[in-house]
């Protein structure tokens, strides 16, 4: 048995995983990263638009700070997020942006003086401050009160990932490429590492570590059409699920992005609309203002996706062989803007659609995009059930996104979460010793070996490819943007049948080394379990919140459902997960549940909401008018952070004389204030 | 500004000297051909050119110094040797390298790489033919002229050397100048490069035509 020992083991070499690895290595810990692919090919690279951080350098970002970012995030989550975590995040986001500058990210910068932008289909001239010249710029994104999304043209994820991986290389952090983790080594209380398979040689290895961090991204590929890379198959979540102990949080919270191209589902960034692009129907009519007069195209993603679906259901979609779609119109931004700031979009349009986005409208449709759910962790990123198991980024349910993630907050989560959780992981490694139980590792190794033997030598006849396709179809048809009880029940029932069938998988290609069919077979069983947690969670949650929209329960129900779904799989032979719930405590919230600002306000109120609002008013009154915003915040909801990340963030506005409101131009129409 | 001759930087010097020697040789080549083409204007024109090359205007008897041509031939030989020595290290010298090159060119379809291969092939041919030319001229500079040259080319059969030399050298030089220009950044964009590529072909063709015409123009003087 091949055993590899390390202090800090990270599974997944995207932004989040690499950031944790760097944090571990910075403390002198031995660190190993496992990855299915070369690190720079990770799906983080696909994030185009940018990451949110309240730097407030650009004129449209003036007045921004952690408080505004926090509020946007909480509202965006439809109050489903963990507010402590949202606070930790908003506080550290500017730090992460500045840190990345020093690691090489060429953030787009502010140019002083006037510049023309498109806001609400009209040309507006903004005047950037002399003092802001050369500082990091920001663009507008959906669901935010300020222009807060820092970017490098439309290749932000790419730039970040390259800078991050370069940093990791400079620190000599080994990335074991083309290695797939297949099981966690654990004793029910503590996680000791993983069993992984080399995708080239087929060799099984036990990686034994003090801490194991899962940063494998989302589970978008359980859907047939997704903007996600084809490796985003939820295997990280499945690893945790298969321990039978660790829990997954809010798996039913799946985001659909409004503008993926039809039919292949490749993303065009939210920056298209942020920079002024419009949505049009088959008559060329701009329909979003009818539904969302305030935010229009820049309402939160879940809202825009639902409105688009509604509009298509009214027969206003453009017919195509692949079903109806709508148009994304960025022609009004002008060729120069598209060729500099939306280059990737342009390339995608040319290569996959054969159109010129400076001239033609882009066919788009809401498409599965992001997994808010994931491995449930506490604020330090550690699984509450399995000591030593950490998770970060999209793989995790650290829970800053709740039931809907804001554009620009996912890229931010990877590097900010990685920065914070990386420190906790390093703390854990320094405070704990390596426990080597070779017998335990061997036991898990044998289990995986037996699974492979059964696939290669067994007499099963089911095709992994066929089962995967069926699963993806079920998820598309019954667990989509709009959901209802009967369809969700059907999804659960059919997925269970598939899970049973997946016990009878057989391979045509019997190789034990590089064998794509074997890889598929090993994954599909795990993916089915993940899909079942999504469908079961959705079926059980009889309310609508954020991206989880039930046609049969259209109201947000804070009274009964202000809680997080937890899914576990204690019985390996069971056909569905065990669901439990974790209440969100209104009495501890800095921002008690309120109206999010879209459609009619029909939420069923939580009994504590009013109490907490009064309490907040009293606390603030007691503090008096002299208290600054930091003191107020601290009095309402103190939050934890590693010491080195505590200092306040300096901003241009600290020293710059505030421009008058006329200089500011039109106030950005944000999510409505409470 | 001091010239930094450190040994560590030899490869920079090598590359630079390849470019510089190449450009000098090409410039000489084209000038040379223009001069030789004076035969197209008649025997007198060529005789005058030949005399002037021998610096006849400096000598009292007006016959000039034929050894000047020998000196030029030696200088070109030296320049060409430098060029060859530096260029050799870029060529696939081992069997393994040749195999890798062949495999790559079989798999991947790329015009400029094929151009370079032509340059390499013509370079090797020039390496064989040029010494003959230089020796013939350098050892008997006084024979250069409409009748002497015609006799050499057509009666002594030296056209068998000159014709292939003409073709190879004109291809080699034009491609070389095109590449040197790209190498040091003369083309700011791809359109300029396309234009330069066309000009390069035109230059090759024109000089080959001039050369062939000149060779033929010697024919009447050969008898």
């Amino acid at each position: 048995m091949k055993l590899i020992y390390t202090d800090s083991l990270v599974v997944g070499a995207g932004l989040a995983g690499l950031r944790v690895a760097i944090a571990s290595k910075e403390r002198g810990l031995d660190t190993v990263v496992l990855s299915l692919i070369p690190a720079k090919r990770s799906h983080s690279a696909a994030a185009q638009g940018g990451m949110q951080a309240s730097l407030g350098n650009a004129v449209k970002g003036m007045g921004d700070d952690e408080d505004v970012h926090f509020q946007d995030t909480v509202k965006g989550s439809d109050w489903g997020c963990d507010q402590d975590v949202a606070r930790m995040f908003a506080h550290c986001a500017p730090k992460a942006v500045r840190e990345l500058t020093n690691w090489g990210v060429p953030w787009s910068r502010v140019t002083k003086g006037p510049r023309d932008v498109i806001v609400n289909a009209e040309k507006v001239t903004l005047h950037e401050a002399e003092e802001a010249h050369g500082l990091i710029n920001a663009r507008d994104f959906g669901g935010t009160k300020k222009w807060r999304t820092c970017y490098t043209a439309d290749g932000t994820g790419h730039s970040l990932l390259y800078a991050m991986d370069n940093k990791a290389i400079s620190m000599d952090i080994p990335v074991h490429e083309r290695v797939e983790a297949l099981a966690l080594i654990h004793d029910g209380q503590r996680c000791h590492g993983v069993i992984a398979r080399c995708l080239i040689t087929g060799e099984l290895r036990a990686y034994v570590a003090k801490s194991t961090t899962i940063a494998t991204g989302g589970y978008g590929r359980i859907y047939e059409v997704s903007t996600n890379a084809i490796i985003c198959e939820g295997i990280g979540q499945a690893l945790a699920l298969e321990t039978g102990v660790a829990t997954l949080g809010n798996m039913e919270a799946v985001q659909f992005h409004p503008t993926a191209i039809v039919p292949v589902g490749i993303l065009t960034t939210e920056g298209c609309r942020g920079d002024g692009g419009l949505l049009r129907d088959k008559d060329g009519y701009r329909f979003m203002p009818d539904y969302e007069p305030e935010k229009k195209e820049l309402a939160s993603r879940d809202v825009v996706s639902r409105r688009m679906t509604e509009h298509m259901r009214k027969g206003k979609g453009v017919d195509s062989p692949y079903g109806p779609h709508l148009w994304l119109d960025i022609t009004l931004l002008g060729r120069k803007h598209i060729e500099t700031n939306l280059r990737e979009v342009q390339e995608i349009c040319e290569n996959f659609l054969g159109i010129d986005p400076a001239k033609d409208w882009i066919p788009v449709r809401p498409t599965q995009h992001y997994s808010m759910g994931g491995i449930r962790t506490n604020a330090t990123g550690e699984s509450p059930q399995l000591k030593g198991l950490f998770s970060v980024g999209e793989a995790a349910c650290w829970d800053m996104h709740g039931f809907n993630r804001l554009g620009g907050n996912s890229l931010a989560e990877t590097v900010v979460g990685g920065m914070i959780i990386g420190k906790y992981v390093a703390d854990f490694c320094q405070n704990n010793s390596l426990e080597i139980d070779t017998k335990l590792a061997e036991q898990f190794m044998h289990k995986v070996q037996a699974e492979i033997d059964e696939l290669v030598e067994g007499d099963g006849t089911e095709s992994a490819f066929a089962i995967k396709r069926e699963m993806q179809q079920i998820m598309m048809d019954y667990v989509g943007i709009f959901r209802n009880g009967p369809e969700l029940d059907k999804a659960v029932a059919e997925l269970k049948v598939l899970l049973t069938r997946s016990g009878q998988l057989g391979l045509k290609c019997k190789k034990r080394h590089a064998n794509p069919e074997l890889v598929e077979a090993l994954r599909v069983k795990r993916m089915l379990k993940v899909a079942l947690t999504v469908a079961s969670g959705a079926a059980a949650r009889t309310e609508s919140r954020g991206a989880h929209a039930r046609e049969d329960y259209p109201q947000r129900n804070d009274r009964d459902w202000l809680k997080r779904t937890l899914a576990s799989w204690p019985d390996a032979n069971a056909l569905e997960p065990t669901l439990s719930y974790e209440d969100l405590d209104v009495m501890k919230m800095e921002l008690p549940p309120g109206y999010r600002g879209y459609g009619i306000n029909n939420a069923i109120v939580h009994p504590d909401t009013e109490k907490r609002e009064q309490q907040i008013a009293e606390i603030l009154k007691e503090l008096g008018d002299d208290a600054d915003r930091y003191q107020k915040q601290w009095a309402l909801m103190p939050f934890e952070l590693p010491e080195s990340l505590r200092p306040k963030n300096e901003r241009l506005s600290d020293t710059l004389v505030r421009p008058t409101s006329t200089d500011l131009g039109e106030e950005s129409t944000g999510e409505q204030a409470l | 500004m001091t010239v930094n001759f450190s040994v560590k930087k030899w490869s920079g010097w090598l590359d630079l000297s390849q470019s510089v020697s190449g450009v000098m040789l090409a410039v000489f080549l084209w000038t040379h051909l223009v001069l030789v083409s004076s035969i197209l204007l008649g025997a007198d024109a060529m005789s005058w050119v030949a005399r002037t090359m021998e610096l006849s205007f400096l000598s009292a008897d007006g016959h000039g110094y034929p050894w000047v041509v020998t000196l030029i031939a030696i200088a070109i030989a030296v320049l060409a040797s430098i060029h060859v020595l530096v260029a050799l290290q870029k060529l696939p010298m081992s069997l393994a390298q040749q195999k890798a090159l062949r495999l790559q060119m079989q798999t991947i379809n790329h015009g400029d790489t094929r151009l370079w291969r032509w340059q390499a092939i013509t370079g090797v041919i020039i390496l064989l033919l040029l010494p003959v030319h230089l020796w013939l001229i350098g050892s008997a500079p006084e024979t250069i002229g409409p009748y002497g040259s015609a006799d050499r080319i057509w009666n002594q059969g030296v056209w068998l050397v000159y014709l292939p030399l003409l073709f190879t050298v004109e291809l080699h030089a034009a491609i070389g100048i095109y590449r040197v220009a790209l190498k040091w950044g003369a083309a700011r964009d791809l359109n300029t490069r396309e234009r330069m590529k066309k000009i390069k072909t035109v230059v090759s063709v024109i000089f080959i035509l001039i050369g062939v015409a000149s060779l033929l123009a010697f024919l009447p003087y050969a008898n």
């Binding site: 692919i37 070369p38 690190a39 720079k40 090919r41 690279a45 730097l55 992460a96 942006v97 500045r98 020093n102 690691w103 090489g104 060429p106 953030w107 910068r109 010249h133 050369g134 500082l135 490098t152 043209a153 290749g155 790419h158 730039s159 370069n166 940093k167 290389i169 400079s170 890379a229 039919p263 500099t340 290569n351 054969g354 490819f465 290609c509 190789k511 590089a514 064998n515 794509p516 069919e517 306040k648 241009l652 | 010239v3 930094n4 930087k9 490869s11 920079g12 630079l16 696939p92 390298q97 790559q104 991947i108 790329h110 400029d112 790489t113 370079w116 590449r179 790209l182 040091w184 950044g185």
Partner: protein
């Protein structure tokens, strides 16, 4: 979009881990569908005809650089190559030359790029290491940031390496990808390295002075990066250190 055609794929097959296997070309037929890309076709072939077929795709959107292969003589990204591009309906697929072959169309570009990055130190060497992330960032010329991003767009797909005859002949040659990245850091005002420092890395036969300007890199780069100009820029810069 062409419909109803039958495409013929000639695919290089070889499993270096199978003792008795020899490199060969295998022919497959597949019905073309509207908007079909080589990515779609290969996956269909694997699912329906030969489950052992090896190839690499990740983002399938032309962003990650995983899927470079030689398609009818041109190295490019397979995910964004539409089959409709080939009027004869014959498509020959070869793995990128110059990389370690994992099997069939899959090559180990990741290992190559990591080794290159380590060898050439392809990361930002900040002028000062003690930056304070809590303070306002240092300003940077907006034009410079835009120029840097242009060079940052490289996806390390390996096309330039395979399209470079120089690289194929000389294993130690850093290739366009290495030089482009050096050019990117050389231009970065935050990087503390001097022209002399870069000379030590690429001012030699394995670097700019070994490049023969064949421009296979420039002509095949799926991201249209300005290799020709950048390598020329570096060469001038390095030559300037001679005087």
């Amino acid at each position: 979009m062409t419909q109803g055609r039958t495409l013929t794929f000639n695919i290089f097959r070889y499993d270096p881990q199978e003792a008795n296997d020899k490199p060969k070309m295998v022919q497959y037929q597949i019905a073309e569908t509207p908007g079909m890309t080589v990515f779609i076709a290969l996956n269909k072939l694997r699912e329906e005809q030969d489950t052992s077929l090896q190839f690499d795709f990740v983002c399938r959107a032309g962003i990650c650089g995983s899927c470079a292969m030689v398609i009818n003589g041109f190295p490019t990204l397979a995910c964004r190559t539409l089959t409709a591009k080939y009027p004869k309906g014959e498509i020959t697929l070869m793995p990128l030359p110059g990389f370690e072959l994992i099997g069939d169309l899959s090559v180990n570009t990741g290992k190559f790029m990591r080794e290159l990055a380590e060898r050439l130190q392809l990361w930002l060497h900040p002028k000062s290491d003690d930056i304070d992330v809590h303070r306002l960032e240092d300003p940077m010329d907006p034009e410079e940031a835009a120029r840097l991003y242009e060079l940052e767009r490289c996806v390390e797909c390996g096309v330039c390496v395979s399209a470079c005859a120089t690289k194929q002949m000389r294993d130690t040659f850093v290739g366009a990808v290495g030089m482009m990245k050096i050019a990117r850091f050389e231009m970065d005002s935050r990087d503390g390295r001097t022209a002399e420092d870069f000379y030590h890395v690429i001012g030699n036969q394995d670097g700019v002075f070994g490049c023969m300007t064949l421009l296979g890199c420039q002509d095949n780069c799926p991201k249209d990066l300005p290799h020709m100009q950048q390598i020329a820029y570096l060469r001038r810069k390095m030559a300037m250190t001679l005087v």
